[in-house]
């Protein structure tokens, strides 16, 4: 095939001359991309022209933020790199929240943005924004390509950086003239990143030290973070925890890395974590952190965090080690390599006393709620969803109470099943994330457990689900409040509910107007039936659960308190 002017034959023979836009598409395909998300605009038209007949499934969101969250959730659900495209200026600016969300949660993504013509850069041209400047702090790496000859290599580098080490979003800014310019692409143009080195194998002496500390420990706790899921090391984690006989607590981002139904699981620690995880951390003599970053929502008051413990920290990112909490035995490397190395060296120790203590805490302080009410309790809705899906759904969430209850009452047995904005806490993540996850896993049951106000932020994306025939389910725990904000106002601002109550639309009507199925549930007895119907729908479906308005999330470690200073335990006990 020879390329003629005016035809669509952009990708002809091997060493023929090609446009930048065609090189972009070819390189994406070479990198294994079969799905992308993105939105159009003037300076990405050359690229979109080449995508017209490319073998790539392309999903167009209604807002670039939505597209960015979709690519993020696509990556979290599949383990592949998520790809999003946006135009210059406003398009690129709309990516910022999505990039920051992915950055905080270490999600591998590549964002491709159009930019004004090279010679106009810096002139305040129409739709010009300093995209690399704006996105620098919210990306793992970004750059602008000013020469078509650098395009293919730069995109290869972007995928490499995004997906290796501690993953993260990488943005490549591409002026429109570079997309139009032509060159003969150099297939052998390998990545050149002299400053990018990843240590995957742990230092053997550190591993031995860690194993010795574990074998000596009477009261160990394994504290697992999202890094274990990024590393695809759930199996290795299981082998290690079983072999050494360790209780396991998982951060919000790690839920499902270890089966929560197992007796070793302490569920989630931290601000709204389980009392048994928090007590275990405070009383342990050894804390083994793997792929976790000692976030303040996990540690509470740092000074009194795990006060009796020696700390082992396994992480691929050396800057994570001793950043918030001083570590005794650091091991830099990939959890997938280090966990098996540790497994070889650890002994199975019964630790009867310790496990007894833990099981007493578990009996005394399980996650509970009072279901003896006529109103619909949000926790009840989640429990019902959990039972009807056999705990096997992919769950996305909004941010706030809905998110914490989803983490407390849906129990995950596999990794990549809970997709939630943990680090940034981005309201509006849930719906686009469900779309991205459903695109990645067409056969899975994908449920967005959302808050009303979180849903308000990105609900326009419902139309994206309809258009792409994605049977996602959205369960709005509708309390009319910014519930988590209201909870803080109740507890710390004397119940002055300043500006945290808003009137909502009829979400079932909204859903129908956008072409989805809409169900309203305002009676407790209708909850199971509505969930059953929702699960059987082949179309996107929104269920508006009118839940108890002033329910609180318990237990709670108030900001600045130690993990063992939980409030709400008396309330939980009174429900027993």
């Amino acid at each position: 095939m020879t390329s003629k002017k005016g035809t669509s034959a952009g990708s002809s023979g091997k060493s023929s001359i090609k446009s930048g836009a065609q090189i972009i598409v070819d390189t994406l395909i070479e990198q294994g991309v079969d799905t992308m998300f993105g939105y159009l605009g003037g300076v990405v038209l050359p690229l979109f022209d080449r995508l017209y007949d490319a073998p790539i499934n392309f999903v167009i969101p209604r807002h670039e933020q939505g597209g960015c969250h979709m690519a993020d959730a696509y990556a979290r659900a599949s383990g592949k790199v998520g790809v999003v495209v946006a135009t210059s200026g406003p398009g690129a600016c709309n990516l910022v929240t999505g990039l920051a969300t992915a950055m905080m949660d270490s999600v591998p993504m590549v964002a491709l943005t159009g930019q004004v013509r090279t010679e106009l850069i810096g002139n305040d041209a129409f739709q010009e924004a300093d995209t690399t400047g704006i996105t620098r702090p919210v990306t793992k790496y970004n750059c602008i390509v000013k020469d078509v000859k650098d395009l293919a290599r730069t995109i290869r580098e972007a995928f490499h950086i995004a997906s290796t080490g501690r993953p993260g979003p990488v943005l490549v800014d591409m002026p429109v003239d570079v997309q139009v310019a032509r060159c003969v692409p150099d297939k052998s143009d390998k990545i050149k990143l002299p400053g990018y080195k990843i240590r995957t194998k742990g230092h053997s002496r550190q591993i031995s030290k860690a194993a010795a500390a574990i074998n000596k420990s009477k009261r160990p706790v394994l504290y697992v973070g999202g890094g274990v899921i990024s590393a695809n090391a759930a199996d290795e984690l299981r082998t290690f925890a079983k072999k050494a006989n360790l209780p396991v607590t998982m951060t919000l981002l790690a839920l499902g890395a270890y089966d929560q139904h197992e007796k070793e699981s302490l569920d989630m620690p931290g601000m709204h974590g389980s009392a048994y995880a928090n007590y275990a951390i405070q009383e342990c003599d050894l804390l083994i952190a793997v792929g976790a970053r000692f976030d303040d929502r996990v540690t509470g008051k740092v000074k009194s965090f795990a006060p009796n413990a020696k700390i082992i920290h396994v992480d691929i990112d050396p800057s994570s080690i001793s950043k918030n909490v001083q570590v005794d035995i650091p091991v830099v490397g990939d959890a997938k390599e280090i966990l098996p190395a540790l497994s070889e060296k650890v002994k199975h120790i019964a630790r009867k006393e310790w496990f007894n203590k833990i099981s007493n805490w578990k009996k005394k302080f399980p996650f509970r709620y009072d279901n003896n009410t006529s109103s619909i309790k949000p926790q009840y809705v989640i429990e019902e969803i959990y039972h009807q899906t056999d705990g096997d759904a992919i769950v996305t969430t909004g941010v706030g109470q809905n998110q914490m209850w989803a983490a407390q009452f849906y129990r995950f047995s596999k990794p990549r099943r809970l997709l939630t904005s943990g680090g940034l806490g981005t309201m509006g993540y849930g719906l686009p994330a469900a779309i991205g996850a459903q695109v990645a896993k067409p056969d899975a049951t994908v449920i967005d457990i959302d808050g009303d106000h979180s849903f308000n932020m990105t609900m326009t994306e419902l139309r994206t689900a309809v258009e792409n025939k994605l049977p996602i389910k959205v369960c709005i725990l509708n309390n009319s409040y910014m519930g988590m904000v209201r909870q803080w106002q109740e507890l710390f601002y004397n119940k002055r509910y300043s500006k945290s109550y808003l009137s909502n639309p009829d979400y079932a009507e909204v859903a129908r107007a956008l072409g989805a199925v809409g169900i309203t549930v305002d009676k407790k007895k209708d909850v199971p039936k509505a969930i059953e119907q929702m699960l059987s729908e082949k179309n996107p479906c929104v269920v508006d659960f009118r839940v108890e308005k002033e329910e609180n999330v318990w237990p709670m470690v108030a900001a600045g308190k130690s993990l063992d200073e939980m409030s709400g335990l008396d309330i939980l006990e009174s429900m027993a």
């Binding site: 690399t132 400047g133 620098r136 702090p137 793992k140 790496y141 750059c143 602008i144 950086i161 990143l193 002299p194 400053g195 990018y196 990112d317 050396p318 800057s319 080690i321 001793s322 950043k323 001083q326």
Partner: protein
């Protein structure tokens, strides 16, 4: 405590912004930052002086190393190093004081690089304390302008 950190970085556009942005975002204080070419055209050297306790500086080092185009990071603390600043300083000089000021410049092994009716501009290099000391001795005459580089440094018997 003062740490001199030396970073070899790729000589690419945007690297300075990436490094400076990281310092700002993580609330690290930079005392001085000097960038210049090296013997290898693909690499530049950034010499960064930071003041902080060991924990902070350890984070600075790790976060710097994490910036993708940063190739190598060294903290010279505790090592014998040669550290130098360069200064251009303009001093008010009535003709009667000229010999006096010239002899001061000589004492500091500086050079007169510009001279006028009422001023002398001198070039002084050396450790930071020497630069400070020179400014202090000039103050009584009137210091009109100072331009200083930050510190650059090399470990003694350097193998970099």
């Amino acid at each position: 405590m003062k740490h001199i950190i030396s970073a070899l970085v790729e000589n690419k556009p945007g690297v300075l912004a990436q490094v400076a942005g990281m310092f700002a975002a993580r609330a690290f204080n930079i005392d001085s930052l000097v960038v210049g070419r090296t013997e290898d055209i693909k690499l530049s050297r950034m010499t960064i002086v930071v003041i902080g306790d060991d924990k902070v500086v350890e984070q600075v080092r790790k976060q710097l190393a994490k910036v993708v185009p940063v190739v190598k990071v060294q903290d010279f603390v505790g090592q014998p190093v040669v550290a130098r600043d360069l200064m251009l300083i303009t001093i008010s000089t009535p003709p009667a004081k000229r010999p006096e000021i010239q002899s001061l410049i000589e004492m500091f092994r500086g050079k007169v690089v510009d001279i006028g009716q009422k001023f002398i501009t001198a070039e002084i290099s050396g450790p930071e304390e020497k630069i400070e000391a020179f400014i202090n001795v000039c103050k009584p005459y009137g210091v009109k302008n100072v331009a200083r580089t930050g510190t650059i440094a090399m470990p003694r018997q350097a193998k970099s």
